[in-house]
C-alpha cells in the first residue's frame, strides 16, 4: 500500500472529494447498524452528522478511522480506497479522530499527552506551542495528570491534537458530551478556526444548534443511512421531518 500523506488544502473543483463513503455496511454482533451509508466531504469543508441516538453516526466515524471494519462498501480518501487500513497508519497519514468522551490518557501528564500527538508527524515544540497558545489553561496544568483535569480541560487537551497536528481530515465525535454550554461554544470556535485553515472536518453531534453554525454541509442520519443532506439552513428545516419519517419507517 502506498503511504499517503494528506495535507490540508484549499477546495478545488477538479480534486476528488477528500472523503467519500460509498454504500458502507457495518454492524456489531450480527446487528447491522449502517445499511448502505453514503457521504461525500469536499476538501476544506465542515460536514455535520446529525440524527437520533443509535442511528449509526459514531459507527460511520469508526469506519472512516479504520477502527471498525465495513462489511461492504468503499471508504475513499482522495480517491484512494483505504478500507482495512489500520487506524494508526491513517492517523500518521493525516486523519485525526477525537473519540467520544475520552480523548486523553488519564495517567499521563498534559505534556506527555501532547507528546503522544507528535506520532502524527509534527515536532514536540510546535505541538506544545500551539496547544498552550490556544488553551492557556493547559499550560498552567502541563505537569498535572490528564485524568485530574476538569471535563472541559480534558476536551481541550483532546482538541489540541486536531489543532496541532494539522491533519487533512478531522473527525469529531460528540464534542459537547458532558460539557457546559460555554465550554462547548469555545470548542466549536476552535473547530471553526481549524476549518478556516483548510482542514476538512466531520462532526458528529446530537445537538444541532451549535454545530450547524460552523458547518458548511449537514447530513441527517436515520437508521443507518443518510436520510437528508444539504446546507445547514436546508437541513434545519428538514430535521423535524427527518425524525418524524424515521420513527415510522420501521426499525430495520
Amino acid at each position: 500500500m502506498t503511504v499517503l500523506r494528506l495535507e490540508p488544502r484549499e477546495p478545488a473543483a477538479i480534486d476528488p472529494p477528500l472523503l467519500e463513503l460509498r454504500r458502507i455496511r457495518a454492524g456489531y454482533d450480527g446487528i447491522e447498524v449502517l445499511h448502505g451509508f453514503d457521504l461525500t466531504v469536499a476538501a476544506g469543508s465542515v460536514v455535520a452528522l446529525l440524527g437520533p441516538n443509535g442511528a449509526g453516526k459514531t459507527t460511520a466515524l469508526k469506519v472512516i478511522a479504520g477502527q471498525h471494519p465495513a462489511s461492504s462498501g468503499d471508504v475513499l480518501l482522495f480517491g484512494h480506497r483505504v478500507n482495512g487500513t489500520a487506524p494508526d497508519r491513517l492517523a500518521r497519514s493525516g486523519v485525526c479522530v477525537i473519540p467520544e468522551g475520552r480523548g486523553v490518557f488519564p495517567n499521563l501528564t498534559v505534556r506527555e499527552n501532547l507528546w503522544m500527538m507528535t506520532y502524527a508527524g509534527c515536532s514536540r515544540g510546535d505541538v506544545e506551542a500551539i496547544a498552550y497558545h490556544r488553551f492557556p489553561r493547559l499550560a498552567e496544568r502541563r505537569d498535572q495528570a490528564a485524568g485530574t483535569l476538569s471535563g472541559g480541560e480534558q476536551q481541550m487537551l483532546a482538541m489540541a491534537r486536531g489543532l496541532a497536528t494539522r491533519p487533512a481530515l478531522l473527525l469529531l465525535d460528540e464534542l459537547s458530551m458532558g460539557l457546559a454550554p460555554l465550554v462547548v461554544e469555545d470548542l466549536y470556535a476552535v473547530v471553526a478556526g481549524i476549518a478556516a485553515d483548510g482542514v476538512s472536518v466531520v462532526v458528529v453531534e446530537q445537538f444541532a444548534d451549535v454545530v450547524l453554525k460552523v458547518a458548511d454541509r449537514a447530513a441527517v442520519v436515520v437508521h443507518g443511512r443518510v436520510a437528508h443532506e444539504g446546507t445547514p439552513a436546508h437541513v434545519q428545516a428538514l430535521l423535524a421531518e427527518a425524525y418524524l419519517g424515521g420513527t415510522h419507517e420501521g426499525k430495520r
Binding site: M1, Y28, D29, G30, A65, G66, Q67, H68, P69, G84, T85, A86, P87, D88, R89, A91, R92, C96, V97, P99, R102, G103, V104, F105, P106, N107, L108, E112, W115, M116, M117, T118, Y119, A120, G121, R124, R161
Partner: protein
C-alpha cells in the same frame, strides 16, 4: 549489629535481583496483557548462554555479559513477540496462561537438552573473593555492590525511559488506552516488541546476577520467577514503584531469615518458601475486582450423550483390561500410571473446562493424597477416602484467598502453593509424629477391599482402570447435572450469574475442592501402584505438562483426561524407541504441544472422538470391528505374537472399520449439512467456514482486534 549489617547487604542484593526480574514481568503484563510465566526461564536461558560464552568459550566477563544482555536476550524477546505472543491477541486469559506455561516447560526442556544436567557447571561471582571492608567485621562483596548498584541504575533508567522518552511514554499510553494510542498514530506492535525485548533483557540481567549464588540449574532458575511474582503482586502486577517495594520486602526478608533463622531442620525450608508466603499474604489483602462480564471465545464443549459416555467408558475399560493382561510386570507398573495420573488429569476437567478456573498444583494435591493415604491407609478403603477428603480441604484453603480475585491470581496462588510444598512442606522432618515423607520416601500397602487385596501389578492396574472409568462417569454426570450447567454459566458471565443470586465464591470453591479431592484419589492410587513414593514424584514441574495436555486435549471434554494420561505416560516414553534422536527433544515436546494447541482452544480430544462417529453409529461394522480387535487380543493371549503386533493389528482393524463405516454412511455425491461445532473436523477449514463459525459465535469484535494487529504489522 554487625551481623544485622551483613545480612542487610545480603538482603539488599537479593532484593535488587528480584526487583530487576519483576520489573520486566510487570512491563510486559501491563503493556501486552500477557502474564509471562516463562519470564524466569528467559533469565535461566540467558544465564546458560552467559556460561557458554564466558566459561566454556572463554570470552571475558564484560563482553560476554553485554552480548547476552544487549544482543541475545532482546533478540529472543522480539522472537517471542513475533512468533508466539502476537498471535495471542483476543484470546482468553486461560489460553495465554497455557501458552506461557508451555513456553516455560519447553525452555527448561531446551536448556536440559543443550546443557546436560548431569554435568556440573559453576559461574563465579563478579570479582570473586574481593570485597569492600566497611568496619573490622562488616564487609560487602563486590558482587553484592554491583548487584545493588545495577538495580538502582535499572530503576533510574526505567524511570527516565518511561517518562523522558517518547517511546517510553507511548508504552504507558498503551496501558492507559490502547485504542487511543492507535488514533495518535503510535505503532503499537513496535511498542509491544520493544517491551518484550526490554523485559527479556531485564530477565537476563537478573539471571546473570543470581546465577553465581543460585547455581546453574534450569528448574531452580526458572522458578525464581515465583519469588519475583511476590514482588510484582505488591504492585498488583502493574505498578513498577510498588514492585520495587515488594522486592525490598521479599529480599530483605530472605536476608534476615538467612541470618536469624534458628538452625532447625524443621525451619530450614522456610527461607526458600518465604517469598511465596508473602505472596499469599498479599493476595489476602488485595481488594476484590469488579465482576467479569461476558468473554467471547471460540471454545465449545457440548454435553456428552449418555450413549456416547457409556461407549467411552466401555472402551477405556476394555483398553485397561487388554493392557493389564498383556503387559509384562514392570511394564504394567509403568503403564498403570496412565490411569492413576489420568485421574489427576481428569480432575482438571470440571475445574478448567467447566468452571474456567486454573489450577497449576493438581499434582501437589495428588502428592498430599498419596502421603495421607500412606500414613492412614494400612491398605484400607478408609485411608483412601481420608486422602480424598484431606486433599479437598487443602484445595479449598489454597483457593479461598484468590477466588474473589481474577483468574491470574488463582493461577499464581496454586503455582505458589506447589512451590511451598516442593521447597518446604514435603521435605519437613517429623513434627509431632507426622511428616509427609519421613525418610525421603514413603512406603504404602496395597488396598484391600472386602478381603481382596490389589497386590500384584496387574491387580493394581485393574484397580486404577476401574477408578478411572468411575471418575470419568462422574465427570460426565457432573457435566450433565444442574451444578455442571451452573459452572458453565459462571465461566461465561460472572455478572449475569450474580444477578440471579449465585454466590460465585461458593460455587467456585465447591468445584475446586471436588477437583482437589479427585487429584488426591489419583495420588493415592499412584502411590499404591508404585508401592514407594518420594516428594519428587509430585513436583510442580512434573505437574505443569499435565495441565497443558489437558487443555490441549480439550479441557471441557472428559476424554481430555485420557489424552493427557496416555500422552505423558504412554506416547511420550515410547517416542525414543521409535527413533533414539527423539530422546533429547522429549522434554520439550509437551511444551511445543501446548504452544501449538493454545491456538485451537477447544482442543484435540474432541476431534479424535468425533472422527469415530461413523463407526459408533454403524452397528454392523462396529460389531465386526470389535470382534476383530477381540480376535487380535485372543491370539495375543495364546502368545502367537507380541504386544506390538497386537496393537498394530488393532489399530489397523479400527481404521479399516472406520473407513468402511464412513463409506456406508455417506453414499457418493450426497452432501451433508455439518453441524456447527464439527466444522473443521468433518470438513477441512476454509475461510468461509471460519467466517460462519465466527458469525455464530458473534466473534466479529475479536476478529476486528486481530485484524487490527495484523494490519499493524504491515
Amino acid at each position: 549489629m554487625d551481623k544485622f549489617m551483613i545480612f542487610t547487604f545480603v538482603g539488599l542484593s537479593t532484593s535488587a535481583i528480584y526487583a530487576v526480574i519483576s520489573s520486566g514481568l510487570v512491563l510486559t503484563y501491563a503493556t501486552t496483557g500477557v502474564f509471562n510465566v516463562a519470564h524466569g526461564a528467559a533469565g535461566m536461558l540467558s544465564a546458560f548462554a552467559y556460561w557458554q560464552l564466558h566459561v566454556a568459550w572463554g570470552i571475558p566477563t564484560l563482553p560476554a555479559a553485554l552480548l547476552v544482555l544487549f544482543v541475545l536476550a532482546p533478540l529472543f524477546g522480539v522472537l517471542l513477540e513475533r512468533v508466539i505472543m502476537r498471535g495471542l491477541a483476543g484470546t482468553t486469559e486461560a489460553t495465554r496462561l497455557v501458552v506461557s506455561i508451555s513456553l516455560l516447560v519447553a525452555m527448561i526442556g531446551l536448556a536440559q537438552a543443550v546443557w546436560s544436567p548431569a554435568v556440573g557447571r559453576v559461574v563465579a561471582p563478579f570479582f570473586e573473593g574481593r570485597q569492600l571492608t566497611l568496619t573490622r567485621d562488616v564487609s560487602i562483596t563486590y558482587h553484592q555492590l554491583i548487584t545493588i548498584a545495577t538495580a538502582v541504575v535499572v530503576a533510574v533508567c526505567l524511570k527516565v525511559f518511561l517518562t523522558r522518552t517518547r517511546t517510553g511514554v507511548a508504552m504507558r499510553a498503551v496501558v492507559d488506552d490502547r485504542p487511543l494510542t492507535l488514533l495518535n498514530g503510535v505503532r503499537t506492535d513496535r511498542v509491544a516488541q520493544l517491551s518484550w525485548a526490554l523485559s527479556t533483557s531485564l530477565a537476563a540481567l537478573g539471571g546473570i546476577l543470581i546465577v553465581s549464588s543460585a547455581g546453574l540449574n534450569a528448574a531452580t532458575l526458572s522458578l525464581l520467577i515465583v519469588n519475583a511474582y511476590a514482588a510484582a503482586a505488591f504492585g498488583r502486577l502493574r505498578s513498577l514503584p510498588l514492585t520495587f517495594v515488594g522486592a525490598l520486602v521479599v529480599g530483605l526478608g530472605d536476608g534476615y531469615l538467612a541470618g536469624y533463622l534458628p538452625q532447625d531442620q524443621r525451619l530450614a525450608g522456610l527461607r526458600p518458601a518465604f517469598p511465596v508466603l508473602v505472596l499469599f499474604a498479599v493476595l489476602l489483602v488485595l481488594p476484590s475486582r469488579p465482576l467479569r462480564t461476558h468473554v467471547r471465545s471460540r471454545e465449545y464443549f457440548p454435553a456428552p450423550s449418555l450413549r456416547g459416555a457409556a461407549t467411552y467408558c466401555a472402551v477405556i475399560a476394555a483398553f485397561g483390561v487388554v493392557l493389564a493382561t498383556t503387559l509384562s510386570g514392570p511394564d504394567t507398573i509403568a503403564y498403570a500410571k496412565v490411569f492413576a495420573v489420568g485421574i489427576v488429569a481428569l480432575s482438571l476437567v470440571p475445574l478448567v473446562g467447566f468452571a474456567g478456573q486454573v489450577s497449576l498444583c493438581q499434582l501437589s494435591f495428588a502428592g498430599i493424597g498419596a502421603a495421607v493415604a500412606a500414613h492412614v491407609s494400612k491398605g484400607t478403603l478408609l485411608g483412601v477416602v481420608t486422602s480424598v477428603v484431606v486433599a479437598a480441604l487443602v484445595g479449598g484453603l489454597v483457593a479461598l484467598p484468590s477466588l474473589r480475585l481474577s483468574g491470574i491470581y488463582l493461577a499464581l496462588a496454586t503455582l505458589s502453593f506447589a512451590v511451598v510444598l516442593d521447597r518446604w512442606l514435603f521435605n519437613l522432618p517429623e513434627i509431632a509424629g507426622f511428616a509427609f515423607f519421613p525418610s525421603g520416601s514413603l512406603d504404602i500397602q496395597p488396598l484391600t477391599v472386602l478381603g481382596y487385596t490389589f497386590d500384584t501389578p496387574r491387580r493394581q492396574m485393574l484397580l486404577a482402570v476401574v477408578a478411572f472409568t468411575a471418575m470419568s462417569a462422574l465427570v460426565v454426570a457432573l457435566r450433565r447435572s444442574r451444578y455442571g450447567r451452573r459452572l458453565l454459566a459462571l465461566r461465561d458471565s460472572e455478572a449475569a450469574c450474580a444477578t440471579f443470586g449465585l454466590n460465585l465464591v461458593g460455587a467456585r470453591l465447591g468445584v475446586f475442592m471436588l477437583s482437589a479431592g479427585m487429584a488426591g484419589l489419583g495420588g493415592s492410587l499412584l502411590a499404591m501402584q508404585q508401592s514407594s513414593i518420594t516428594a519428587a514424584d509430585f513436583q510442580l514441574l512434573s505437574g505443569l505438562p499435565l495441565f497443558m495436555l489437558v487443555v490441549a486435549g480439550g479441557a471441557g471434554f472428559v476424554s481430555a483426561g485420557l489424552f493427557a494420561g496416555v500422552g505423558l505416560y504412554a506416547a511420550l516414553p515410547l517416542l525414543p524407541s521409535l527413533w533414539s534422536g527423539l530422546t533429547r527433544v522429549q522434554p520439550i515436546l509437551p511444551g511445543i504441544v501446548g504452544i501449538a494447541l493454545g491456538r485451537s482452544p477447544s482442543g484435540a480430544a474432541a476431534d479424535v472422538s468425533r472422527s469415530f462417529t461413523p463407526l459408533r453409529e454403524d452397528a454392523v461394522v462396529l460389531s465386526i470391528t470389535v470382534a476383530g480387535c477381540g480376535a487380535w487380543y485372543a491370539v495375543r493371549l495364546l502368545d502367537v505374537f507380541g504386544n506390538p503386533t497386537m496393537w498394530v493389528g488393532m489399530v489397523v482393524t479400527v481404521l479399516v472399520g472406520l473407513g468402511a463405516a464412513s463409506r456406508r454412511r455417506r453414499p457418493a455425491g450426497a452432501a451433508e449439512v455439518i453441524a456447527l461445532e464439527w466444522q473443521g473436523v468433518d470438513e477441512p477449514w476454509s475461510a468461509s467456514r471460519v467466517a460462519d463459525l465466527d458469525r455464530a459465535l458473534r466473534l466479529e469484535q475479536t476478529r476486528m482486534s486481530l485484524s487490527e494487529v495484523a494490519h499493524g504489522a504491515t
